[in-house]
C-alpha cells in the first residue's frame, strides 16, 4: 500500500519502522525539518519529502493522489487535522490524525463523519486505556486482546515457588486443570517460542494465551496473587492521568492524584470531582509515605520526566507490594528498564504507533490480506496475529499434528463463533474461524507462511 506519514517525531519514526518491517508498503515521509527527513531516509527504505503536510505541493510531491492512507502525527493537532482535510480534498486516501487536545476529542464524530477522517488517535487516552486494563488485572505485565476481547495474551513473570517453576509446557494444562497455552518465553535476552518439552523456570517472563473465563482460575492455581486493585496513586496530573482516573472510577477504583502545580490541581478538581487531588510534589518521598504509599494497591508514575518516573517506581517498589506502572517516553533504553523489574512499563508513543499500524493492517485486510488483529508481544520480538481462515485455505480441515509448522511459530488459539479453543494436535482449523498465531518471524501476511516451505506446493 502507498502510505504517507506526516511528521517524523518519535511516533512517526516508530510507525515507519513498523511499516517497513512489513516490506510491502511504499512509505513516504513528510516533515518540515530536513534533518529529521535525512535521518529517517538513511535508516529506512522510505522516500522523504521536505515540506509542510498542509501544503498541497508537498503532499502532491509525496504522491497523495495515489496514496491509500495518510497518517498525520506532527506535534500540532491543528496541522494534523488540516493535513488530513487537504489530503482528503486532493486525494482519495484514508486519513488518520493524532489529536491530543481534549477539547477536540469531544468533536470526534464531527471529524470522522463530516470531515471524512478515518481515525483519530489520542496518545494520552490510548495510554490511559492500556494502563486501566493493566490495573484491572494487576498480575499481568502486559495484556493484548484478541477475538473482540474474548481471548487475551497475558505476560507475567513466574514468581519463586510457583507451580509453574520447573514444569514442562506440555504438563501445565494437566497440572493446573486450565486450558491455556504458553506462546512465548523471555529468558535473559532470549525470546523463545516454546514447544511441549520446554521447561519453565521461575524468573522467566511468559506470555500465556487464555480465554477471559479461565484467567482468574489460572492465576490462583499457578500461585500468583491476582485480584483487582482497590485504589491507585497517580503521580503527575497530566492529560493521561485525567483519562486514566475517569476510566478507573468507572470500574470503582479509588483514585488519588499528586500534582505539584496548584492551578492544575484546581482544574483537576473540576474535571474529576470524585478523585482525591493532592497538591504536593510527587517526587518527595515523605509526601508519598504520608499519602499512604505503603498501603496503596497500585502506583502509577505519569510525570513527564522518564528518569523521575523510573526512580519513583523503584522507590515505590521498596515500600509497597502493589502493582507498579511506569510511563516511559524514550523507548531506546527499554532493555535496561526491563532489567529493573519495575512491573509494567507503558510507552504512549509506542501504543499510538501500534494502534495506527493495526489500522493499516485492517485496511490491508479489505484489500486482500486476512489479518484481523496484530499485536507486538515479547518486547516487540514476536507478533501475535489473528488470521481469518478462508474457504479455500490450504490449511483448513487438516488436524494440526499433520501440518508441519515452522519452529518459530505456534498456533495459539482458534476462535469458532466466539468459542475459544486452545488447540491440540487433533484440532482442525475450519473456514471462518479466526486463528491466533504467535511467531518470531515478523511481517507475515498469510497464515500459510507459518508452514515449512515446500510442504504445500
Amino acid at each position: 500500500m502507498n502510505i504517507i506519514v506526516v511528521g517524523c517525531g518519535n511516533v512517526g519514526k516508530k510507525i515507519v519502522e513498523m511499516l517497513c518491517l512489513e516490506k510491502e508498503h511504499n512509505v513516504t515521509v513528510v516533515d518540515t525539518r530536513s534533518v529529521a527527513i535525512n535521518a529517517i531516509v538513511n535508516q529506512h527504505d522510505v522516500m522523504g519529502v521536505i515540506g509542510s503536510g498542509t501544503s498541497v505541493d508537498a503532499l502532491t510531491d509525496a504522491g497523495v493522489k495515489n496514496a491509500d492512507i495518510l497518517i498525520a502525527v506532527t506535534t500540532s493537532d491543528e496541522i494534523n487535522l488540516l493535513t488530513c482535510l487537504v489530503a482528503r480534498k486532493i486525494g482519495k486516501c484514508q486519513t488518520i490524525a493524532r489529536v491530543r487536545n481534549p477539547e477536540y476529542n469531544k468533536e470526534v464524530s464531527l471529524f470522522t463523519k463530516d470531515f471524512g477522517l478515518s481515525m483519530i488517535i489520542n496518545p494520552e487516552r490510548a495510554a490511559a486505556a492500556v494502563i486501566a486494563r493493566n490495573l484491572r488485572f494487576p498480575a499481568a505485565i502486559s495484556i493484548d486482546t484478541f477475538s473482540k476481547g474474548r481471548a487475551e495474551i497475558l505476560k507475567f513473570r513466574i514468581p519463586d515457588n510457583s507451580t509453574l517453576d520447573n514444569s514442562r509446557v506440555a504438563d501445565i494444562v494437566g497440572k493446573l486443570n486450565c486450558d491455556v497455552l504458553v506462546c512465548g518465553v523471555e529468558r535473559n535476552d532470549e525470546t523463545i517460542i516454546p514447544h511441549g518439552d520446554f521447561v519453565l523456570k521461575s524468573g522467566d517472563y511468559i506470555s500465556v494465551l487464555m480465554s477471559l473465563k479461565t484467567e482468574t482460575k489460572f492465576f490462583k492455581k499457578a500461585g500468583i496473587k491476582s485480584g483487582k486493585v482497590s485504589d491507585t496513586m497517580i503521580i503527575g496530573g497530566g492529560e493521561t492521568a485525567v483519562y486514566l482516573a475517569s476510566l478507573l472510577q468507572q470500574s470503582g477504583i479509588n483514585v488519588k492524584i499528586l500534582e505539584k502545580d496548584s492551578n492544575r490541581c484546581d482544574e483537576l478538581c473540576n474535571l474529576l470531582p470524585k478523585a482525591t487531588i493532592i497538591n504536593a510534589d510527587g517526587t518527595d518521598n515523605k509526601q508519598l509515605l504520608e499519602e499512604g504509599l505503603a498501603n496503596a494497591s497500585s502506583f502509577v508514575s505519569l510525570t513527564n520526566i522518564d528518569e523521575e518516573n523510573i526512580l519513583l517506581s523503584m522507590f515505590a517498589k521498596t515500600i509497597t507490594n502493589g502493582k507498579l506502572i511506569t510511563k516511559i517516553n524514550r523507548i531506546a533504553y527499554d532493555d535496561v528498564i526491563n532489567g529493573l523489574d519495575l512491573g509494567t512499563t507503558i510507552c504512549p508513543k509506542n501504543i499510538t504507533a501500534e494502534y495506527i499500524v493495526q489500522f493499516v493492517r485492517a485496511k490491508k485486510n479489505s484489500m486482500g490480506s486476512n489479518i484481523e488483529t496484530m499485536h507486538r508481544i515479547l518486547n516487540g520480538k514476536a507478533e501475535a496475529l489473528e488470521f481469518r481462515i478462508r474457504e479455500n485455505s490450504p490449511i483448513a480441515n487438516i488436524p494440526l499434528q499433520n501440518l508441519s509448522i515452522n519452529k518459530n511459530a505456534i498456533i495459539a488459539c482458534i476462535n469458532r463463533n466466539g468459542n475459544i479453543i486452545i488447540p491440540r494436535g487433533n484440532d482442525v482449523m475450519m473456514p471462518n474461524d479466526t486463528v491466533i498465531v504467535v511467531t518470531t518471524a515478523l511481517g507475515h501476511k498469510d497464515i500459510s507462511e507459518i508452514l515449512k516451505r515446500g510442504k504445500f506446493e
Partner: protein
C-alpha cells in the same frame, strides 16, 4: 566497519560482472572466434568463482552506515576494474596489465580515454566488452545490484548516494529497489530506442550496439581510431541527440513517464544545460566555419563536439585539436561543466555550477549588506545549506586534486596543454584532451605512474571524489 557486508556486496558485483562477460562470449560465438570464446568464458568463470566465494560470507549484522556505503562504492569500482582488465591482458592485445587496467577503468568510469594506438586491431569480442563496460558503468554497478538482487535493509541508501552523481541524491519512488529498477528500465529503454535509430542509419547490429553503449554511458569508446568521423551524417546526428538525452537527469524522464511533463521543462538545470549547448555550439560553428566546406557541416561538427564534451562522452567527428583557440577553450571549459546531476555523464555537473554561481552572487550581496539573509534556490525550492556547503567544498577539493594530478604527470615532461587537458579529460570522464592527448592521439606515451594517477582521477571523477578519498583516510578504517 562492517567488513562482511562489504565483502558480500563485492561478491555480488563480481557475479554481475561475470554475467556481463557473457555478452562478449556470445559475440565470440557469433564471429566464431575460439580464442576470445575461451578467454571470456574463463574470465567469466573466474569472476563467478571469486564472486560466489565472497557471497558465501553472510553478514549477520546488516547495518550499513555512511562509511560502509562509501567504502563499498569505492572498492566495488576498483575490484570490477581489476577483474575487467584481465581479458585484454591475457589475450595479449594489451601486454601491460597497467595499460589494460587503465583501459578498463576508462571503460567503467565512462571516460573513453584509450592507450591503444590502433583500436581497430582489437577483435569484436574485446570491442564489445570495452563498450559494455561503458554501459554498465554509466548507470552504475551497485544501482544494478539494487535493482535485481533482493535485500532487506533500508540503509543501502548510503550506497546509492555514494555511487550516483549529483549534489543531492534522492529516490524516485519510496522503495529503493523500485527506484533502481525504474532507473535501469529508462536506461534500457533509451538504449534500445537509440539502437533502432542506429539500425535505420544502416549501421550493422554490432556497430549499433557498441556505439550505443558508448553513447548511453556517455563513455566514448569507438570501433576505430577515427571515432565517429567515418559514419554518415545521419548517424552522427542520432548520436548527437542521444548524447544530449543521456546527459539529462534520469528522474526527469520518470516525471515525463508519469505525465508531469511541465516539471521537466521547469528544471533549472536542464534549461541551463540546453542553453549552454546551444550557445557553445553556435559560437563554435561560426568560429570554425572557415575549416569546413559549408556552414551545415561546421554546425554538425559544432553540435556533435559540444554535446560529446559537455556530456563527457568523448566521441569525435573531427580533429578539434586543429580548431582555433576560442573553440578549443570553450571545449575545455565544457569538460569541467559536465552534464546534469543524475545522468550518466561526468564532470562537475551543471547543478553544482549553478549552485556555485548562486553562492558567489550571495557572497557579493553579503559584502554589501552584511546582515542580509539570502536563501539559494533551485527550481523555486530553497537549497539546503549543507548541500551548498558540500558543493563549495567539492569544487575546492576537485581543484586541489586536479592541480596535484597535473603536477605528478608533469614528471613525464610533456607540454602543459597535454598535462592540463589529460587530467581534465580523465577526471571529468571525457576521454580525449588536446595536443598529445587530442582526438587523434592516445594516452599510451605516459609513464606507468601517470597512468595510475590518471586511472585514480577517472575513478575520483566517476564516484565524485569522496568515496575514493575515504579509502585513503585512516579515519575510515579506525574502529
Amino acid at each position: 566497519m562492517n567488513y562482511k557486508i562489504i565483502l558480500h556486496t563485492l561478491g555480488l558485483a563480481l557475479i554481475i560482472e561475470s554475467a556481463g562477460m557473457l555478452l562478449p562470449v556470445i559475440c565470440a560465438i557469433c564471429y566464431g572466434d575460439m580464442q576470445d570464446l575461451l578467454i571470456y568464458s574463463l574470465c567469466a568463470l573466474l569472476c563467478l568463482a571469486v564472486g560466489a566465494t565472497l557471497t558465501i560470507i553472510k553478514p549477520k549484522n546488516k547495518t550499513m552506515y555512511s562509511r560502509e556505503g562509501f567504502v563499498i562504492a569505492a572498492l566495488t569500482w576498483i575490484v570490477i576494474s581489476l577483474f575487467g582488465a584481465i581479458p585484454f591482458w591475457i589475450s595479449g592485445y594489451i601486454p601491460s596489465y597497467i595499460d589494460a587496467l587503465f583501459e578498463t577503468v576508462s571503460g567503467f568510469t565512462t571516460t573513453g580515454a584509450s592507450i591503444l594506438p590502433d583500436v581497430g586491431a582489437l577483435s569484436n569480442a574485446h570491442l564489445l566488452w570495452r563498450s559494455f563496460t561503458h554501459w554498465i558503468g554509466g548507470m552504475g554497478v551497485l544501482v544494478f545490484i539494487m535493482a535485481v538482487i533482493p535485500h532487506d535493509n533500508g540503509s543501502t541508501m548510503y550506497v546509492l548516494r555514494a555511487e550516483s552523481p549529483g549534489p543531492s541524491v534522492g529516490k524516485l519512488v519510496p522503495k529503493l529497489k523500485s527506484s533502481a529498477k525504474i532507473l535501469y528500465l529508462i536506461y534500457v529503454g533509451l538504449t534500445l530506442i537509440q539502437v533502432i535509430f542506429m539500425l535505420f542509419g544502416k549501421a550493422s547490429l554490432f556497430e549499433a550496439l557498441t556505439l550505443t553503449f558508448g553513447t548511453a554511458g556517455t563513455g566514448g569508446f569507438a570501433l576505430t581510431n577515427a571515432s565517429i568521423a567515418d559514419y554518415s551524417p545521419y548517424i552522427q546526428k542520432v548520436i548527437t541527440v542521444f548524447m544530449i538525452l543521456f546527459g539529462i537527469d534520469f528522474s526527469l524522464y520518470y516525471l515525463i513517464l508519469t505525465r508531469k511533463i511541465s516539471s521537466f521543462f521547469k528544471s533549472e538545470e536542464v534549461r541551463v544545460y540546453i542553453l549552454i549547448i546551444l550557445i557553445s555550439a553556435l559560437v563554435i560553428s561560426l568560429n570554425t566555419n572557415y575549416l569546413y566546406p559549408n556552414f551545415n557541416t561546421s554546425l554538425r561538427h559544432g553540435f556533435f563536439q559540444v554535446a560529446s564534451i559537455i556530456t563527457t562522452t568523448g566521441y569525435t567527428t573531427t580533429d578539434f585539436d586543429i580548431w582555433p583557440a576560442l573553440s578549443k577553450t570553450i571545449l575545455v571549459i565544457l569538460m569541467f561543466v559536465g552534464a546534469c546531476a543524475g545522468s550518466t555523464g561526468g564532470g562537475i555537473k551543471v547543478s553544482r555550477i549553478l549552485i556555485l554561481f548562486k553562492s558567489i552572487r550571495r557572497e557579493i550581496k553579503l559584502a554589501a549588506h552584511p546582515k542580509a539573509t539570502h536563501k539559494i534556490t533551485m527550481n523555486a525550492k530553497s537549497v539546503d545549506e549543507g548541500t551548498v556547503r558540500s558543493v563549495c567544498v567539492y569544487f575546492g577539493v576537485f581543484m586541489a586534486l586536479f592541480a596535484l594530478s597535473v603536477l605528478i604527470i608533469s614528471f613525464d615532461n610533456f607540454d602543459p596543454t597535454t598535462n592540463f587537458t589529460a587530467v581534465a579529460a580523465t577526471v571529468n570522464n571525457v576521454g580525449p584532451g588536446l595536443s598529445l592527448v587530442g582526438p587523434t592521439r592516445n594516452y599510451a606515451e605516459f609513464s606507468n605512474l601517470s597512468k595510475i594517477v590518471l586511472s585514480l582521477d577517472m575513478l575520483i571523477g566517476r564516484l565524485e571524489i569522496f568515496p575514493i578519498l575515504m579509502l585513503f583516510s585512516p579515519r575510515t578504517w579506525r574502529k
